[in-house]
């Protein structure tokens, strides 16, 4: 009943000033296919899709639907042609109900322009029933979990009879379980005749669901593959050279515990407990990775340690000294290195030079300061040595930090934080929006810092990163510590924990039910740890440090 449609992008070029975001890209989406666009952040995938969706005008090239050239002047045209898009950042009005959001732009009306939401509700119910979405048309969008919001986005496209659905990094905000559900939904949609363009940089998901994979690098198509291609193959296509996806790191040699958090609670201005009674500890020479879906208290936890949060209770002990209630300056002076989650907002001053950014927290100390004046020569000297050490690709130390690529900006932040002797190192989303090549480098630096005997805390929403770096993994859910489990715990167990199940429940659930979709390629070396028993250490560790 659904008319299928063939979509072809021919020689699409998009220029922003001097930046060539898309360079003669050719992609053909056959009817009823899941076509994946794989590429790193900034490779030009989203730009391409925004061109296809009529949000950007292409500089050159054409779009063909069923071999007929079309031109879209706005999203309205694209939707009329049967193209629907689910954006990475949801395009939903938070204070509207689901029905109002779905109706927007394609409203059913009664005479005189009055809204007929009844009609919209019926359509939502229909789609919701057909695909098992379980969406209440009258719920306020802001009250819905992210996964459900995403389904609302999909409904929006389906109500408009989308025959090609573009999903832009749809899994970035989901738990592994929600991701699996989404992949199921995608297969169902495909079964119903909807073609899907799936944009991602996550190899695992891409392999699980794609019919064909087109790899994009620096705005160009560099090749295509089918889902049978190996991850290493895909990764090297994506990056442009052979990459080592696994990090070689020696087992941790934990020493004495010097960092301890006890009953930490952070209250947000609206009264929510964003961090709720968390206790854990980190030993010297150990990496504790904090996992969890974005927005479960990770930001507040790190900010509380640094002294950026207002209403904090409990205790944070570093080398026996209390950090709660101290100023950020005091905390930094106590030897805390901090890489914030958003380098552009909190990590760097974009208009300052690289050299200045490298001394943002040291400018008032010798050798950079003498009395009330600063010593530019020392600042420059320091910059040049850091730039060399961290392989920062910058035209010069005087270049504005904001002009560097994401990976190089992150290296600047990391270089600054690791440039003084640390008693604790915290890195939040250390590789978000960073190219694969730099990821490798940054990860190695983090492990090197651990090996010098610094307690390290990593916060990441990327499960792959957590599993790679962690010596122990703490999972946060709604501000509470679900549990702390050893490295090597399986992805599925961690996923369940990220949805709020305790480690024991997660193990139990996992044994009952094996997901057919994914996660069945157990990481070698995991199974014994899982099979054994519901990790005896997890509960006690959650209570507080049990290292000796």
């Amino acid at each position: 009943m659904v008319r299928v449609l063939k979509l072809e992008l021919k020689g699409i070029t998009k220029r922003f000033g001097s930046l060539l975001a898309n360079d003669h890209i050719d992609v053909v989406v056959e009817p009823g296919q899941i076509h994946c666009l794989l590429g790193e952040n900034g490779a030009g995938k989203s730009t391409l899709m925004n061109v296809l969706y009529g949000l950007y005008e292409p500089t050159d090239g054409e779009i063909l639907i069923d071999d007929e050239p079309v031109s879209f002047r706005g999203p309205g045209d694209a939707m009329a042609a049967g193209i629907g898009m689910v954006h990475q950042h949801f395009m939903l009005v938070p204070v509207f109900t689901v029905a109002e959001n779905v109706a927007l732009g394609a409203e059913s009306t009664k005479a005189g322009g009055f809204l007929n939401l009844e009609d919209t509700r019926r359509k939502i119910q229909e789609i919701s029933d057909r695909y098992g979405f379980d969406v209440d048309p009258d719920a306020l969008v802001e009250d819905l979990p992210v996964g459900v919001q995403q389904r609302v986005e999909i409904i929006k496209a389906l109500v408009r009879d989308a025959r090609v659905l573009i999903l832009d990094e749809p899994t970035a905000v989901l738990t592994p379980q929600e991701t699996d559900e989404l992949l199921d939904i995608m297969r169902q949609l495909k079964g119903g005749g909807t073609s899907i363009v799936f944009i991602s940089h996550k190899l695992r998901e891409v392999k699980a669901v794609s019919d064909i994979i087109t790899v994009i690098r620096r705005g160009q198509v560099v090749g295509s593959a089918d889902s049978g291609a190996s991850t290493t193959e895909l990764a090297s296509m994506m990056v442009g050279r052979a990459v080592n996806l696994t990090l070689d790191k020696a087992p941790a040699q934990p020493q004495e515990t010097t960092f301890e958090v006890k009953d930490l609670t952070v209250v947000a201005p609206n009264g929510h407990h964003t961090v709720d009674g968390i206790s854990f500890s980190i030993a010297r020479g150990e990496i504790l990775a904090v996992a969890g879906v974005q927005g479960n208290g990770q930001t507040e936890l790190t900010e509380a340690i640094l002294g950026l949060q207002e209403r904090v209770s409990g205790s944070i002990l570093l080398d026996g000294k209390e950090l709660v209630g101290r100023s950020v300056k005091d905390v930094l002076d106590a030897g805390v290195g901090f890489v914030p989650e958003d380098r552009k907002v909190d990590g760097l001053v974009g208009t300052f030079s690289v050299a200045e950014n490298l001394v943002l927290d040291l400018y008032d100390k010798a050798p950079f300061a003498r009395g009330i004046s600063m010593s530019p020569a020392k600042v420059l000297e320091n910059a040049n040595s850091r730039i060399g050490e961290f392989d920062v690709r910058t035209p010069s130390a005087a270049a504005a930090a904001g002009t560097l690529s994401g990976g190089n900006q992150q290296k600047v932040v990391m270089a600054r934080e690791l440039s003084r002797p640390l008693r604790l190192f915290i890195a939040s989303q250390p590789t978000r929006g960073v190219d694969v090549g730099s990821i490798e480098f940054l990860h190695r630096r983090i492990v090197a810092e651990r090996d010098t005997g610094t307690p390290v805390m990593i916060v990441s929403t990327e499960l792959d990163e957590v599993m790679e770096l962690a010596d122990r993994i703490a999972v946060l859910y709604k501000g509470k510590l679900v549990g702390i489990v050893p490295a090597g715990t399986g992805r599925d167990v961690l996923g369940l924990m990220m949805a709020g199940l305790s480690p024991d429940e997660a193990h139990a659930d996992k044994l009952h039910h094996r997901d057919p979709a994914l996660g069945n390629d157990p990481v070698p070396g995991n199974s014994p740890a899982l099979g054994n028993s519901p990790t005896p250490t997890s509960a006690s560790r959650a209570e507080g440090g049990d290292h000796d």
Binding site: E107, L115, N270
Partner: protein, 442 residues
């Protein structure tokens, strides 16, 4: 309806999303209960008890409910000053106590409680003021009718603000729109000898002022607050200049607009209290009621309103749904200006029949306060404007009957009320999320 091959498997629901949804809902409903409301009410209650009760007047306050021309007459309301003050303030303390009791049980005070408290407070205040006056008698009907009259330009102004802010443009230029409307109405009505044409011209003038605001803030992305302030100054300067050079030179031709007639609906206008305010108004007065209702229905019940609100809340979402964000903004701001312009005509076509410099006297800014107090809702803004009109009118009446309270204190009243309201007594107000933020594609 094919059965879904991948419907959630048994065993999965407990682990998957459903519990999250529930918990999330719980989390949002458990809003923190603060001491703000109980403490504020208690303090006000004590103030009321001391001033309106213990230090209350000895005279009996007399409130006339009907005017002599009314269809049927109601007896005047007579309240002994001291006793009235004591009784009302004790009830207020009771309400405050109830709020404190609820807080100890960790419950928020119900929404009606602060509202009821304010009504009682105002009543006690009236008794106190009137009872302490030289002639302890006012006409309540006249007080209310006068409040509505004074509120007319405020209502139009705040509706203009609602339309602009709901679509994402901050309109500080309400004052300029009112003033431009007032001037143009006077000028055009005088020249054409027809106040109705003057009314239309006022709408056009308001729209023109708004178009400048829209052009600069939407197309050239100039800071909306700054454009608004500059527009106010500009309109004030231009109308002041034309007033002294043109209008003053030949009053008969340029500054004698004549008044819009009062349309008296027979019988209905004789209803005590309500009659005069609902059924004995000028065309502008009737238009006010119509505008409030039409804007409310338009915003919340129609396709147009859904799009307008979407543009003001999340313009990018609207854009991706094929709605032309900046065009929607431009025309809404223009419409808002036209409405404010009509409000401005009230000064020169209804209240008095000539223009003078700065005739709007800062009411555009009060309209802005009414809009915030009314929580960006046309009906809320209407009642907020009425409250300000009431305070304004009370001030002049109280001065006439000779009260010991200095009139400057009375003039402070509306602002005091605004501060208390915005401080959260009536709950958190939330502006449209994208208000004041220009929309640039990409």
């Amino acid at each position: 309806m094919s059965t879904t091959a991948t419907s959630p498997q048994p065993g999965k629901p407990q682990a998957g999303t459903p519990p999250r949804a529930e918990e999330r809902q719980q989390a949002t409903s458990e809003k923190p209960v603060t001491w703000k409301v109980p403490v504020l009410l208690s303090a006000l209650g004590i103030v009321a008890f001391i001033f309106f009760g213990l230090m209350g007047p000895n005279q009996t306050a007399r409130f006339g409910l009907s005017s002599s021309g009314d269809f049927f007459q109601l007896p005047a309301l007579e309240v002994p000053g001291f006793l009235g003050g004591i009784v009302l303030s004790v009830i207020m303390l009771g309400l405050a106590g109830y709020a404190v009791y609820l807080k100890t049980k960790d419950q928020a005070a119900p929404r009606w409680l602060p509202i009821a408290f304010i009504v009682l407070f105002v009543a006690a205040f009236l008794i106190w003021v009137v009872g302490g006056a030289r002639t302890p008698s006012i006409s309540l009907a006249g007080l209310i009718a006068g409040s509505v009259t004074l509120a007319v330009p405020l209502v139009f102004g705040s509706l203009s603000g609602v339309l602009c802010e709901r679509v994402g443009v901050v309109n500080i230029a309400i004052e300029g729109q009112l003033l431009g409307g007032a001037f143009t109405a006077a000028m055009v009505a005088s020249m054409t000898r027809n106040p109705f044409i003057g009314l239309l011209a006022a709408a056009v003038a308001g729209a023109v002022v708004s178009m400048v605001l829209a052009l600069f803030s939407i197309k050239y992305l100039v800071n909306q607050i700054i454009v608004g302030v500059v527009l106010n100054v500009l309109v004030s300067g231009v109308t002041g200049f034309l007033f002294s050079t043109v209008m003053q030179a030949d009053k008969a031709t340029f500054n004698s607009p004549g008044r819009l007639p009062i349309i008296d609906i027979p019988v209905l206008s004789g209803i005590p209290v309500l009659g005069p305010i609902l059924f004995k108004q000028s065309l502008v007065g009737y238009l006010m009621y119509i505008a409030v209702i039409v804007v409310w229905i338009g915003l919340f019940k129609t396709k147009w309103g859904l799009r307008v609100r979407a543009v003001g809340e999340h313009p990018q979402a609207a854009d991706t749904m094929g709605i032309r964000v900046n065009a929607t903004r431009f025309w809404n701001v223009t419409l808002g200006g036209a409405i404010a312009g009509i409000g401005g005509s009230f000064f020169t076509l209804v209240a008095i029949d000539s223009f003078t410099k700065e005739i709007s006297g800062g009411r555009g800014f009060i309209a802005l306060a009414a809009l915030i107090f009314g929580r960006w809702n046309p009906i809320g803004a209407f009642f907020a404007a009425l409250l300000f009109g009431f305070a304004d009118n009370l001030q002049s009446i109280v001065t006439i009957i000779g009260t010991p309270v200095p009139s400057q204190f009375m003039a402070m009243l509306p602002y005091l009320v605004t501060v208390l309201a915005v401080a959260g007594l009536v709950g958190r107000s939330r502006p449209p999320a994208a208000s004041g933020i220009p929309y640039v594609k990409g």
